[in-house]
Structures are given as structure tokens and as C-alpha cells.
Symmetry: D2
Subunit: 379 residues, 4 copies
């Protein structure tokens, strides 16, 4: 079959690879109809990770069940399904606690597994015609048959659930005001989720005009941090108090308006922008090894964090990649009911063959490539 | 009346000061029977804060109601009461949310107030014969009459509730394993609280032998971090995994075994000692201004925090001073029922006049002075 | 001043009564701008309670602070405020737990107090020019000055918070389907609240066409139970499963389509309409004494409840009057932000003098009188 | 193999039946070392259900893994395991929500499955030499190898987790007072669990002296309801208030002191014994069909429930069989740590061959037969 294969820094190719096959009775093979390119794929693409050439990319996947092992109970050929980016067993103690992003079974020796991602286990990605899905009963979420809502449903694999996870960790509830740092796809999904959960007002902080316009369209108040101190802007808009909750949808590659990277900037901004007793939900990535970091400490993932201020204000913080499985059924039902429209962030659909150009444009932050969905079944 | 008055670095005196009087109809005057000296009093005593000479110390207070204003509904002269160290109004939005440590009314311009503490509002401390208690209906917890359990009940003003708050922020529940950094009074109370909430095993980490023995007496497993890496010791004792939850009862004045201060040491140790998906409860103090800090960043409260590792493990963290009012009624009932015995941490009772010597010994970490209760009504 | 005074079964009059005055330093006097008539006023009006002639009605009140006692800290003359229907002290253990509907102080010997209601304490109602508000700091919620949103804010005294309380007890969250029995003012507010909290679909069950149309306008799916079995209708609309959650906004005076009262009908319908593992939130009134009940047991409040089925399905149920104070600040902020519009249920505004006719029409269920707001300051 | 087979009312026999075999790759076969007789087995034994002759009894099972299918990932031959009485798939939406007692997969058409129980699916019981365990990765909890704690661990299959589930539904927390109706094995486990979760005082209500003595041994306060009104006794012991929480560990076969059955007696007693704002956890069985009921309504599971009083007090209630899988890992760890000793309720161990006599004695409530564990591997 054809698949998007990593060749080396800033190079991917669409190549023939061996078809996946059932390796355990609990596996399924899914024919991929949509596989999205994610910001975190860029880390590998840019060569800032230890990803090996030959890796097949793609952790945001959906499609049609092609074949199931005889230990699969709840799926049949022809079922339309979407898979969380995390591979999870469903029976380890972390999975039982709903922390499927930290499965202890799927990637022995590490808490957490994913498709097509460096260090996240032996699972090939889904930017390909077919995908092997382990623990298929647990990892496949069934969708209504047909092709409706394809761009909405593909967000259930990662970004919608990741944005929602941020609001869960930040304990967003009725009447809350929320600061969301970042208005990329995940930040927008966090803003959307916060409003779904009953936030009274959401501030989306970014410096890219197109993103801020999208945030506004979703119902958020845009804050352009290149124009003025975002903390001041948010305090001014909240009677001097700051917001009840805060979300980090940026991570360690945060940049000051002038462009320099400051890995703790977003965290420390949130500590200031959120009122005493607030909660922070951090889904923007922080890493333990970053060769390109601006300091030696930062290269080990140690950041100058405003702990004194955090403590003085009695803040709480939740961190880490999303446990997609905790949310995807509920958010699917919101899409079906017409109460959520996450597909609005998809900027372009392309056949699999155009993946190399898509990566190139995305890496260059070219307009229209902010969220590309690959369509492996299209010519 | 007599009171413990701060004179300047490492000097307190017992002096005559004006008697407190009702300043609002909602005030009460309490005759103090017990007022404990707290580790946080030492920060002021040592001159490492902006505390003004003339300050009356004492935020851990209990006694007998002497007089109530005519806007007080639920208290009468003669009631035996204990007061949270936080002064709180009971009707601002933080108090309504149970976050009484961050009251917006009692100390205008700052979230949080306390008795006898620098920057925490105009409230005189209770290391004195009498204390004015504002918002008395809200701030006085009634106790059974008599003198029984005096040393247990005095811990309800701060340390027992602070230890319990740590377990609440760390979400300690049935079957959990817990690392508690620090086996001083608060750390011991955190260990006690964790066991009350159903923890299966608690590891108390310290380097002082007496404290480790007390931890053992409470039911915890002592870990001497001067003997070997505490993370290794805890992993060895938990099948390589680390504990489910972690508590910081030390704060920024953490010292390596050799004695040097490393303000982020305890936090970063917890990030390693706690298993993926765990929670941290931080009640050890972190400050925004520390003139004695080992680095310029640390003097502003910015610490080199292992954020990459925290994120990779999907940890959560709650911080800040305890909302004593959320827990004191329940913990009082545990004491009355004989199911909690926090008074065991009290090391000495002294008349008020001996406060200067008590501070001196406590500051020198002399044996027997780890938790002194002053008795203003004793000669 | 003028006030709506109960004279006896089906008779109220607007009469001169003594002006209220400060009775404690913690009281405030509020000049009433809006006071709504509530369905529960009808129980007294119809003579089905032990209400004494002379009672001043009115527990849904808002207005302008006229005078405050000198034990009031956070209010000033001229503040625009709305009061929960429950009178609560803010410092008893139920108030501390957020259960302000069950205050142990305000109505000694009974858990819970209210304005102008039989057995709910000595508090005169607010269908009058002025109202005394005890524990004023706790019981007054400040509103933006001016007259905007008056019909939205008046719902914060009871019905919006009561509807929201139902969704809280039923644990309504993102993606849930919800059955709401009753589309009167409280049922509509429950449906509105469920959607605010992220429900995917809400079914509003009633037999009155006007109410069902309003439910639809709010975003709910109307179910006319006089046309077909509501359980069947709901199952058909949910793939045979029933809804995740259920809300009782009707209570014991439920009637079958033909008109006969069946006091357990709504509860037992919910037990069938909700799927296994579901939650029920019951805010419709159930009483311990009902002289007009269809059976002797029912007259004592003992109803034939489908407990076997409840248990088999593993359902949970929360009951009781709303703790308004837990929600009114947050819902106020939703109104100000334009994210909630509860005022849409107000059907008519009338000067105080027209209260007698308003009660008469409301009692007769005449169109346009489903939710009347009295305006004591209008001629 | 040998198994306990139901022959008809009040008759079981130990007979040869076909050995179980792997029916799906996700199955395991477990050699049973302990299988307990449960009070709910008596319902079938006494002929008060539709259980068919030929049924193999036994839903409280533990043993050693004998064989695993090739779709089983986390188990190996020789592993010591205990199984929840509920059979659950681990991937349906109820299982994902932790409600494994209401699995939608294991018993198609009904929410919930169990071993060896009428209407609970096609699963043979474990009062036999071997047991087939479906969805084995999910349904087997691993235990330390060896034979230690066997009587403690067997309670993880049902009664300890069921008692704990009651405390979870009743939201028992630090400082709570709790009424537990019934001091049979489940009631004792509920009392034990309440104390583990930090209850300050637990009242165990029964009329059998031996049970009350066991309750006392566990740390509860015994209340003999045959001596005086239990509500009065509990109110007297709680300052007139009643307890914070209540647990029903009896169910519909409640009897007044004189012996007559009153199916709603325990529920209505709890409604009186629990203070306003309390929570009830109901694990005592209520059924939808009871031919032996004292009234026609009761035979359909409709009971005269004090709904008026429940509502007036603002109580909440959770019901249904336990989701064992939510608790068994945590409670296992409490046993291993020596912090829970549930095995104290086991009254006798017998070889499988003596099952018929054991049932006879248990049915007759003979002393020493309150909790029998069968040992199929003993001669």
C-alpha cells in the first residue's frame, strides 16, 4: 500500500510499504478515509526528534473497518470508525482510571503509546491506505455510516479531544471566564470546548490575524499579544481580576512578539492572567529533551517557572497529552446533534500523494495549510 | 494585655499592648487559651520578610469567647472556639467557593488574610491574652466545652488542616500510595491525613531522625534522604513505579543533605517520585520575593522546574495555603470521635512569657521545640 | 407600605402594612423593583397549606439597597441586588457545604428558610414595596447598575437557579441526552441549563402546546405526552436506550393526560425513560402532608415508587429545593455575557396593585399569566 | 469436572459437568481455589427466581489461571486472580464510564452480566473446579502469588467491593457519621469501608447479636433495632440530627422485629435516620418481580416510599449492584498493605462436596454459616 514515509529532516515521501495485517486476534485493519497532519508531526519532520527514517506518519486517523481478528467482539467489516491518537489497552490501571494517554501495556516501559510517533511504540501511522489498530474494540469509536461530518469526526482523533481535555484539566464550568493561549487548531478547539461547557467568556491569545479571526468566529474574544501585553488586556476586560481559568495550547516553542523562543513564557503569562484560586490546563507540549532550546536547562525540560506567584495565588495545574478515549464518544454525539462544529478548523483536503507538498507548506506556515486532512482513498 | 511583639530580626518580647475591642458588630473577642508557634513565624522572626517591628505574632489560636458584637448570631460568651489562621468574610466569591484562604474582603487588594502576619491584613496575632476575631460567626469553630483535646484542637487552626489540604489537592483516596516530602509538623499532619483518607502506604521523606520516628509512629514508612536518593528508595518500595500521589510539605527552603538550599529540589523530586498520571499537593511555602535566595531568578520566585517531565508524565499540581474552613469542622469531629490524634506533634507547652526563649530554641532547631504551644492564661 | 397579603383561600389583597426595618446590624432593607409570582405561591393561594391569613407573599425578589445595618460590610445604599428565595446564614454547616436551601440558622428547628412562605421562617415576602433581607452580605447578589436585564436577573431568585440545580443533581455534562418532565417556567429553565452545560439533546415533556413551543424555542425537542406514551417517544428518539439523565420539574401534582392526579407518575416515568446508570434530578415539589392527595399514603407523602426498576437500572437521584446561592453568581455572569436569556419565560409585568387579578388568572392557568413579575415601584 | 448444580427449590448437588473451554481468544480458564456462597444465591436456592435446574452457581470466584486464549495480553498460566462477580467487556460506554455492573456487551439486551446467576447471561458459575472467564484481560485482577490473604482476596469478588460501592454512592468522606442498615457480610463490609474512607462514626443496625458483635469488632457502634426504634437511637447518639450518610445493605426482604416483611422499611428508616442534605447508598437488593411480596404493588417492585420526606430533606440516593472493577485493585492494595481485613467475615471454609449441606445451613441461618467459602481443590 501507499504511505507517507519520513526520509529525513524536512523530507517525506509517499511510498509503497507492506500492507498491515492482523498481528493479534484483537486487532482490526482499517481502510483510512481521512488522516490529518498535526502540529506535532512537524517536530519529527523538522528533525528535532529522534524519529528514524522509514517511520510512517499519522496519528489522527479514521476510516472503514476492513478486517477484524476473531477476538474482536464489537466491530464488523464496513463499520465507520475514528481512532484516538493514543493506543491504549483498556485494562491496565491507567486505562481503567480513564488515563488512556498513559497506557502501561501498549508501549512497554513507557506510559503512553501512539500511532506513527517517535518513542510512542511500534505502531505505524495512518497517513497511508490502511492501518492496523490494536485492541480494536477499545480503540475504535463507531460513527454513523456514510460520509457526513467527515471533517468534524476526524477532529475526534486528537485536536477536539485535546482541546476538551484542556478544559477538563482547567475545570471549566458554567459562568467561567477563560484565557486560551494559542489560537491554532488545538487552541481553537479548547475555546470551542470551553463555550460548550458553559464558559461565559473566552479570550483567545495569539498574534496571527487569521487565527484570531477564527477564534472570534467560534465565539471567543481575540487578544493580539503582539499589540499589547496580553495580561493587561485580559485584566482590563475582567475588571482587573484576570480570568477564572487558563489554558496553554502553545507549549515550549512559545515565541515573544519579536520571534525569540521563551519556553516558559506561556505558562508564566497564564500564572499572571488567571485570578487567585484558578486552574490551568496545559496541553501545549513540554519536552524532556530539546536540542534546540535557548538554554542548557531548557534543553533538559527545566524551565524558569513562576512558582512563587503560582503558590501565592493558590493555582492548580493539570498537564499532559489528552486521554482521547475519555471524551470522544460524548463529543461525537455533540457533532451528530449539531451542537459542535469542530470541522471548521480544517483548512484543506488533499489526496495522499500530495502529502510532501502539504508538509512543506505547513512547515512554512503558508496560508491554507494550518490543518490539512489527507484522503488516502482519493486519487 | 500581654502579647508577643516582634522587635526586629531574631528578637521578640512579651510586652503590654492595648486590649483588643470590638470594631464591628460582627466581631468577637476571644480569650486565648492556646496559641502555637508556626514554622512560618520563623520567616518573620529571622528578618527575611518585610514585617514591621511592633507586629504581634500568632495565627494558630484558640480560646474562650469573651465578648460578641450585636451582629454575631451563633456565638455566646463562654463558647470554646478555634479559629482558622486565615481571616475570611464568608460571602465573597472565593469564600463561597470554599477558598477561604483567598478571601477578597478581609485584606483589600490581596486575596487572603491572616492574623499576625506580614502583608496579610491589619489583624493582630493571638500570641497574646486576647484576640479580636472579625466575621466571628464565620471564623469561630465551636468546640466541646472543657479542656479536653486542647493540643489536638489547636492543630485545627493550621497544621492539621494544612496537611489535610495537601491530601485534598493531591486527591488522595482509597488504596493510594503517597510520598510526603518533609516530616515536620505539617508533613506529619499530611501523612496522618493521607492515612485517614484511605491511603495504603505513605512514605515520609526527611533527614532528621526524630521526625522520621514520629512519621513511623503515625503509620508512615520513613525515608531518610540523607542516606540514599529518595526517588530510588521510593521506586524500590513500589515495584519501580513511584507513588500515586505526592505532597510537598517543605517549600522553597529545601536543602540538599549537605545543607545547601535548592528551592526547586522538593518539587522536582516529587515529579520523579510520583508515577505518571499522579497528583501533587503543594503546601510548602513558595514566595515571590526572597532576598536570601541562591539566584536572582529564585529571589523573584522563579524556579528551575522540571516542566518537561511533569508534562510527559501527565501530572497535576495544586498549590497554595490551606483553606482551613473547608476542613476544620470535619477534622474536629474526627478528633472528638477518637479517630484522629494530631496533638501528638505538640512538643512543648509554655506560658506566654517564655515566648522569647521558645522562638530562640525553635530557630536553632533545638530538640523539643519543634511545635510549641503558648498558654497565655498560665502564669 | 403596600404589600400583597394573603386573606384566605383564593384571596389576596394589596394592603398597607408596616414598613420593614433593620432588626439586626447584619440586615439590609431593599426597595423592591421586581417580585415574581411563583407556582409554589399557588399552593398557599389555593388554601392547600397551613399559611395564615396576613402572610405577605413573594420569594422571588430584586431591587435597590435602601439601607444597611452597621454589621453589613459589602453593600451600600443604591446597590442593585437580587436575593435567593432561600434565606441563609452563610456559616452553619449546611451553608458551608453550599446547601443554603437547608440553612440551620435562619429557621430554627427546620433545615431551610424562605421569604413569604408557610413554615419557612418569620420572613415577610417581597411582593411589597420594601423587603428586609437578613444576613445581607450573604443573601444579596450585586447586579450591574441600571435597569438592563431586569427580567433575566429576577429569574436568579429562584427559577433559573432551580432549573440549574436540577441539572447539577442529575450531573448533566457534555454530550448527555436529558429528559425534562414539565415545560413550565422551572422545566424550561432546566432545559436551558442542560444545554448551557453541554447536553447534546434535551426532551421537554408536557401536554400544553404553548409550553412545548417555548421549549422548542429554547432548543429542546418537545414531547407531547397527551399524544403518546412519553417513554416510547423518548426511546424511539434515542435508539431504544432512553436518555442519560432525567429531570422532574413537575412534582406530586402530576396529572395523567385525562387530568387525574398521580403523585408518583413523573418519577416512575423518569425511571423508565432514563437509561441504566442514569441520574435523576428532582426539583418538582414532593410534600409530607397533602390533604388533597388521592390516597391516604400519598397524603403523608408516601408514594408507590418503582424502586425495583430504579435499582435494577442502577439509577441515582437527587432531590430537594435549590441551593440558589451556589449558582446565582455564575448564572448572573452568563446573563451579562449574553450567553443565557432566562427572561424569555416572563409572560407579563404588572404593577403591584394588579396582584389580585394576576393570582386569579395564574390560578386559572389563563394564557399570558404563566410567569408574572410584579413591579412595586410602578403606579 | 465437579460443580454445584441447582436441582430445584432448596436442592443443590455436586455433580460432574463438562469442563469449560476457551470459547473466544479473549477467554481464560481459571482453576478455582475459592468460591464463596452469597446471600443472593439463596434467592435462587429458595426457588424465588426463575433459575433453571442445571444452573451452576457461584459468582464470587478466585483461583489460578490455567489457560489463556491467544487474544489475552496480560495474563499467563499460573497467575493468581480474582474475578468481579459482574462479567464486563471493558469497552462499551457503561464500562468506559466505570459502570461495569451494567455492561452492555456481555448479556445482550440487558445492562449487566454475572457468573452463575439467573437472567445475568450465559455464564456458568464458579462453585466448580474450573471457570471460563470472558474478556479475561479486563475481568481478572492479579494477586500476589502464593496462598496468603485468600479469605481477604475472595471478598474482592463481591462483598468488599459491594460494601465499598455503597459508601461511594453515599459519598462517605472524612468526618462523616454513617448509618449502615444490616450487619450481614455486605453491611459489615460497608461499615469497614466507611471507616477506611474516614468516617468519624458508623452505626450498624441489625437485630442479630452475632452480627452486631462483629460490627463492633470492625469499629462500628451497634444498634439493635429489636430493642428500640433505630431512628431514635441514632438521633440520640448524634445530638438529635441523624447521621450524615446512610447505607442500605438489606434490601426488599427487610423484616420488622416481629418478623413480618416490609419491603420499604429500610429505605424509609434511612430517610428518617439521615440528616437533611444527606446521601443514601443502596446496595441491598430491590427487584422488579417478587412473587412472595406482601402486596401486589410490591410484587412489581413498587414500594411505598417516603418521597415527601426525602424531598423535604434534600436527600440524594444511589442504587444498584456494585461496579466491582472500579474498586477491586485499590482494595486489593489495602489488603496487601495490611490496612483492610475483610476476610474476618468468612465464617467457614468447606470442600466443594459439602456445598449441599452448606446451602442448607445457610438457608436456615445456622450459626457459623453466614459466609462460607468453598474450596474446590480440597478433597
Amino acid at each position: 500500500m501507499k504511505a507517507v514515509v519520513y526520509k529525513g529532516p524536512r523530507e517525506v515521501a509517499v511510498e509503497q510499504v507492506e500492507d498491515p495485517r492482523l498481528e493479534a486476534p484483537t486487532d482490526a485493519i482499517v481502510k483510512i478515509t481521512s488522516s490529518a497532519i498535526c502540529g506535532s508531526d512537524l517536530h519529527m519532520y523538522e528533525g528535532r526528534t529522534g524519529a528514524e527514517p522509514g517511520t510512517v506518519f499519522g496519528h489522527e486517523n479514521m476510516g472503514i473497518v476492513q478486517e477484524v481478528g476473531d477476538g474482536v467482539h464489537g466491530l464488523s467489516e464496513g463499520d465507520r470508525v475514528v481512532m484516538p491518537f493514543n493506543v491504549a489497552c483498556g485494562f491496565c490501571r491507567n486505562c481503567l482510571a480513564g488515563r488512556t494517554g498513559f497506557c502501561l501495556t501498549a508501549n512497554p516501559g513507557f506510559a503512553g503509546a501512539a500511532y506513527g510517533y517517535v518513542n510512542m511504540g511500534p505502531y505505524r501511522g495512518g497517513q497511508a491506505e490502511y492501518l492496523r489498530v490494536p485492541f480494536a474494540d477499545f480503540n475504535c469509536l463507531k460513527l454513523p455510516e456514510g460520509t457526513e461530518h467527515e471533517n468534524d469526526f476526524i477532529t475526534l482523533a486528537d485536536i477536539f479531544c485535546t482541546g476538551y481535555h484542556a478544559t477538563e484539566m482547567a475545570d471549566v464550568g458554567t459562568g467561567d471566564t477563560v484565557t486560551v493561549m494559542g489560537a491554532g487548531p488545538v487552541g481553537l478547539m479548547a475555546a470551542h470546548s470551553a463555550l460548550i461547557r458553559g464558559a461565559s467568556q473566552v479570550f483567545s491569545v495569539d498574534k496571527v490575524n487569521d487565527r484570531l479571526r477564527l477564534a472570534e468566529k467560534i465565539g471567543a474574544t481575540p487578544i493580539d499579544y503582539s499589540q499589547a501585553d496580553p495580561v493587561e488586556q485580559i485584566r482590563d476586560a475582567t475588571g482587573g481580576e484576570g480570568t477564572d481559568k487558563g489554558i496553554d495550547a502553545v507549549g515550549y516553542q512559545a515565541t515573544v512578539p519579536e520571534g525569540e523562543e521563551q519556553p516558559a513564557m506561556v505558562l508564566n503569562t497564564l500564572v499572571e492572567a488567571v485570578r487567585p484560586t484558578g486552574w490551568l490546563g496545559v496541553v501545549g507540549l513540554y519536552v524532556t529533551k530539546d536540542p534546540g532550546a535557548p538554554s542548557e536547562e531548557a534543553s533538559r525540560g527545566e524551565l524558569l517557572f513562576a512558582m512563587g506567584r503560582m503558590f501565592e495565588k493558590g493555582l492548580r495545574m493539570g498537564t499532559g497529552q489528552a486521554d482521547v478515549k475519555r471524551y470522544n464518544r460524548q463529543l461525537r454525539d455533540m457533532i451528530i446533534a449539531g451542537r459542535a462544529r469542530p470541522g471548521m478548523v480544517v483548512s484543506k483536503e488533499l489526496p495522499l500523494d500530495e502529502a510532501p507538498q502539504a508538509y512543506q507548506h505547513f512547515d512554512a506556515r503558508d496560508e491554507g495549510y494550518s490543518k490539512v486532512v489527507l484522503k488516502p482513498q482519493q486519487a
